[in-house]
């Protein structure tokens, strides 16, 4: 393995890819193999080297928090996992499927992963209910009644049961983000990706979104969360990754990161955001 990144992982892509499909899913299900594996991932924007050898393994049911300074490549990395961004070198394997140019693999992985964006990205021309049911109906081919039933349950779960027929523009930011979470969950994904889900929210709305995310974490969902909400990290994260200049500089449990960070850059950054 190259030395370009500080943090290494034990699993190699071959460990997963050499197994038969059934063995892969069984091993991932039992937590013997990671459900997300990033191996030496590099990406360039033109000449700019954004991701410089990222290694990461995430096991089923784990909650991962990714943090680091602005421009360090956090968004870029999390977006490579469902192929909103391409990468030029390395391997990413999600739920036993290798991300490649093959469109079928991409579609398969996108069905297994839900994503929540900083700017919500709800569809403004559709009602809340339609926002949530669109993908289950069109992609999973569920009958409309089933999709709506699931959608209404999810709206209850995220705490806004009576907004189903409103349009996104009629909701507060916190409500919109919870709809976005419900929309992603409606596809019954195995992995949820969050890219700074509370950064665009007013302070009084941050908690209502974090509460939903904590509940989701406790229900056993595999989550990769880019966030600077350290309270959230402390409460539910299994591991934290510190990104700086396109590399993972340090990783560890919240306990290790907060009480005993090894790297100077981590210490400096934490001191800045924790005041």
């Amino acid at each position: 393995m190259s030395e370009s990144s500080v943090v290494q992982v034990k699993t190699t892509p071959e460990d997963i890819l050499n197994l038969s499909e059934e063995d892969r899913s069984a091993a991932i299900e039992q937590g013997k193999l990671p459900i997300v594996l990033a191996h030496e991932v590099h990406k360039w924007y033109g000449n700019f080297h954004v991701l410089r050898g990222i290694n990461m393994e995430v096991f089923k049911g784990e909650v991962i928090v990714i943090f680091g300074p602005s421009g360090s490549g956090k968004s870029t990395f999390i977006r490579t996992i469902n192929r909103l961004e391409e990468y030029q070198k390395g391997k990413i394997i999600v739920d036993g499927t290798e991300l490649s140019r093959d469109i079928r693999n991409i579609e398969k992985i996108r069905m297994e992963t839900g994503m929540v964006f900083q700017q919500f990205n709800l569809f403004p021309h559709l009602t809340v209910l339609q926002n949530i049911t669109l993908a289950p109906i069109q992609v999973r081919k569920w009958p409309k009644e089933k999709a709506e039933e699931v959608a209404l349950q999810l709206l209850k779960r995220v705490g806004i049961p009576d907004q189903a027929n409103k349009y996104p523009g009629q909701l507060s930011g916190g409500q919109q983000q919870r709809v976005a979470i419900a929309r992603a969950l409606a596809m019954q994904p195995k992995i949820m990706l969050f890219d700074e889900p509370t950064s665009a929210l007013d302070p009084e709305m941050i908690k209502e979104v974090l509460d939903v995310m904590v509940e989701l974490a406790e229900s056993g969902m595999t989550m990769l969360v880019v966030t600077h909400e350290m309270g959230f990290a402390r409460a539910v994260a299994d591991r934290m990754y510190f990104f700086d200049q396109g590399q993972i500089v340090e990783s560890g449990t919240p306990e290790e990161i907060f009480t005993n960070p090894k790297e100077d850059r981590t210490k400096l950054f934490l001191s800045q955001i924790l005041h």
Binding site: E107, R110, M115, L122, F123, M187
Partner: protein
């Protein structure tokens, strides 16, 4: 001197904004004569208006012989369309009125006063002294149909949404069926008999309706990752937009037969239609492209992240938003096209303008250019203005521009 009412302010209270009340003199002063150069401008403008209006009005009411318009009214409206088949045009109009009434009730339920005002227009037309009794009756039926559609929409706004959409989609084929006819159900009326305002309208409606899907395809083609598709779309759009409509019309007249097998003969009107459609599609494509580009990237990404494929993303997420945003632009294009169709007179078609020259060629009406051209200018203006007014209202009703 503004003559503002004195008002008393008490500190700390919440106050309504001060209302400014003017006397007539105060208004005149503020808006027309506030400084000496505004006063001068006002006077000069008033003089110009007077200088134009006076001779025009004297001519229009004392010298002009409007007989030429009255006698040829049917020619101006429908050209050579057989008299015993004109009921089909009326039928199409009544259906249009019904649809418009329904749409008005569902989309603009609050604009009652304006609706009532619009309803007066067909009734006013029915009251015109020089039109036939059949036309009078038909204008009344037209108003009734509009009122009927409106009442239905007000009565069952939710239930009527779907029928309205179906009606809107089906209107175009029904229109063509009614005007052209399909043997043996409805007597065929050859396109060379279509003329006047009817032909002008049909050219514009067919042009915009058929160019709409073509324009969407071209706009998508222009953004395509497939190099050949992209190249074709770009070339097509840029070539067509780089030449005047007249040349496209001549091309359609002269070149179209080259592309078709010899046993298929298409007449002048269809060729002109093809030319107009090809022309309008290029502009439509650019309008649609503008709408597509205005959709934020996050919308694409959210759709992809949910597992929708490229096609589903377009159909369910991007196009509905993009098209809604470009409705006003498309209406604008329609109005422009409505006026531009007058160019078909150059390739020998008898649209409104073409009819004008045939009327003027009749020996008894030689020298009546003023009456005839003023009349058709009025028709173009009334329709263009009505459509642009309606589109502005539609824009407000659709909430385009706000989010």
């Amino acid at each position: 001197m503004m003559n503002r009412e004195p008002e008393q302010y008490t500190e700390g209270e919440v106050l309504a904004p001060p209302t400014e009340r003017y006397t007539i003199l105060g208004w005149l002063h503020k808006n027309l004569f506030s400084t000496w150069y505004y006063s001068l401008l006002t006077l000069v403008t008033l003089y110009i208006v007077y200088a134009i209006l006076k001779p025009t009005l004297i001519w229009a009411f004392q010298q002009a012989e409007w007989q030429v318009v009255v006698v040829n009214l049917r020619l101006f409206m429908v050209g050579q369309y057989p008299a015993d088949q004109i009921f089909r045009i009326w039928l199409a109009l009544h259906l249009l009125a019904f649809t418009a009434g329904l749409a008005w009730a569902i989309w603009l339920p609050k604009a009652r006063r304006l609706g009532a005002f619009l309803l007066l227009i067909p009734l006013a037309l029915a009251a015109l002294p020089f039109i036939s009794t059949t036309s009078k009756i038909n204008w009344v039926i037209f108003a009734v149909a509009a009122l009927l559609g409106w009442a239905l929409g007000i009565w069952q706004p939710r239930r009527m949404r779907r029928p309205l959409l179906i009606l809107l989609l089906a209107y175009f084929p029904i229109l063509i069926f009614l005007i052209s006819g399909v043997e043996p159900i409805l007597k065929l009326v050859k396109t060379n008999l279509w003329g006047g305002l009817l032909l002008t309208m049909l050219l514009a409606v067919v042009g915009i309706t058929v160019s709409f899907p073509l324009g969407i395809l071209l706009a998508l083609g222009r953004q395509s990752k497939l190099p050949i598709v992209k190249l074709f779309s770009v070339l097509y759009i840029e070539i067509i937009r780089g030449v005047p409509l007249v040349t496209v019309l001549f091309m359609a007249q002269l070149m179209l037969p080259l592309f078709l097998p010899p046993q298929i003969k298409i007449d002048n009107v269809l060729r002109a239609m093809a030319g107009i459609i090809l022309f309008a599609a290029a502009y439509m494509a650019e309008n649609v492209r503008g709408g597509l580009q205005a959709i934020p990237k996050g919308q694409h990404e959210a759709a992809w992240a949910l597992g929708l494929n490229g096609f589903q993303t377009m159909v369910f997420i991007i196009l509905p938003q993009a098209l809604r945003n470009v409705i006003p632009v498309i209406v604008g294009q329609f109005i422009a096209l409505f006026k531009d169709t007058s160019l078909v007179a150059i390739v020998g078609l008898l649209d409104l303008l073409g009819i004008a020259s045939t009327v003027l060629a009749q020996p008894e009406f030689i020298g009546h250019q003023r009456e005839v051209y003023l009349f058709i200018a009025m028709i173009y203006w009334v329709f263009s203005y009505a459509m642009s007014y309606a589109s502005r209202r539609l824009e407000v009703a659709l909430g385009v521009g706000e989010r």
